[in-house]
Symmetry: C2
């Protein structure tokens, strides 16, 4: 209940009830609280104290670690990016088709989370994405993340071409297109409430984009 009480106050550790929480865990607690607070109040109305209300740590911890709302949100965006980049599980030995499909599915439908699921997280992510036009630092982080997703798709397309399982295409352009289509499929679900948008998007990618990768013009 007390703020920074105990011997280690102000250092890398903070007392919470009887538990010691490391700096790394503290960050995660604050970040997850930020997720919940943003989901409830949205970016527009978010106050630092809403984040405090979502966690068991004392609110002072936030002010100790972050220099205001924008600083916290920049760190939060990095956290979201890491969480999603770290979550893509692809078998190293998978062939390019299997890897490409797995990456698309992961981005569209998301990894499993114990609580506070993928779509609640994506709702928050897409709202911050829309606000990036007004904040250069946020924009830079999101741009980097977007580019990393694109690059992971470009890489597998290039692998496939090298192995001769994909037709020769402009890998950069195809990677960008697939990344864009994934993004907008999620967004259509979130902004317009089209619950089947991700599934529809998956089918459209298959039938009208990935078909361009098929060697020999495909069947028929």
């Amino acid at each position: 209940m007390s703020e920074f009480s105990g011997d280690d106050a102000g250092g890398g550790e903070v007392d919470v009830a009887d538990e010691k929480v490391s700096a790394k865990d503290t960050r995660e607690v604050i970040m997850e609280a930020t997720f919940r607070a943003l989901a409830k109040r949205g970016y527009t109305d978010l106050r630092m104290r809403d984040i405090g209300d979502e966690m068991e740590l004392t609110r002072q911890v936030i002010h100790y670690h972050f220099d205001g709302k924008n600083d916290l949100l920049a760190s939060f965006l990095r956290y979201v990016a890491e969480q999603y980049e770290g979550s893509v599980e692809v078998d190293e030995s998978a062939d390019p088709w299997t890897e490409l499909q797995a990456r698309i599915d992961q981005c569209l439908f998301g990894p499993e989370f114990d609580e506070f699921g993928h779509w609640e997280r994506m709702k928050v992510y897409h709202e911050l994405f829309a606000h990036a036009q007004n904040d250069d630092r946020h924009r830079e982080i999101l741009d980097e993340h977007y580019d990393q997703i694109k690059q992971s798709i470009v890489d597998v397309v290039e692998d496939g071409m090298e192995e001769g399982v994909f037709r020769e295409v402009d890998a950069e352009l195809v990677g960008q297109l697939i990344t864009d289509v994934i993004h907008v499929g999620r967004e259509r679900r979130i902004s317009l409430g089209h619950d089947d948008a991700p599934k529809e998007t998956r089918r459209a990618i298959d039938e009208y984009i990935l078909d361009s990768l098929v060697v020999d013009g495909g069947p028929e």
Copy 2:
């Protein structure tokens, strides 16, 4: 200046300096002022008085016509939708390929405006789009507009199939995909600052989506 002075105060006309302004013009003046105010302040910080600051009419006119900020923004979204739907100029006698290309270009690169151009307008539109998740009425209007764009593309794809110039495809799915890709191409320019995104998107649509419409598997 004075508020609702003159003989017709409260009616369909309002005195502004020496000029009479009809209800239709009044709406347009308020809507264009809303565009400018949103571009400057963003949705989050917008106050009714910011709109008032952007027009020569007295601010009371806004309160006379609209029941608060959300009501005004709903009307504004309808205005934007009409403006863009009305702007698509397609030659009635154009063949399906030409019409399809014209529609895609119009949506991606926008019609000409005398002042306050397409990208300034789109910046405002995309910000409101992101907020639609929190407002059912706004969502409904945007959803309808999005669907109209999609439908206009579906129609031309169906025409092309009927005439035998396009291959048999799932017109609904292709129309949705093209509409989605246009949307995200604009958004990437606005949110991430990728100035060449619309051009890149245009090329990707051509090479990797429209190629699916080519009869006979195309050249080579």
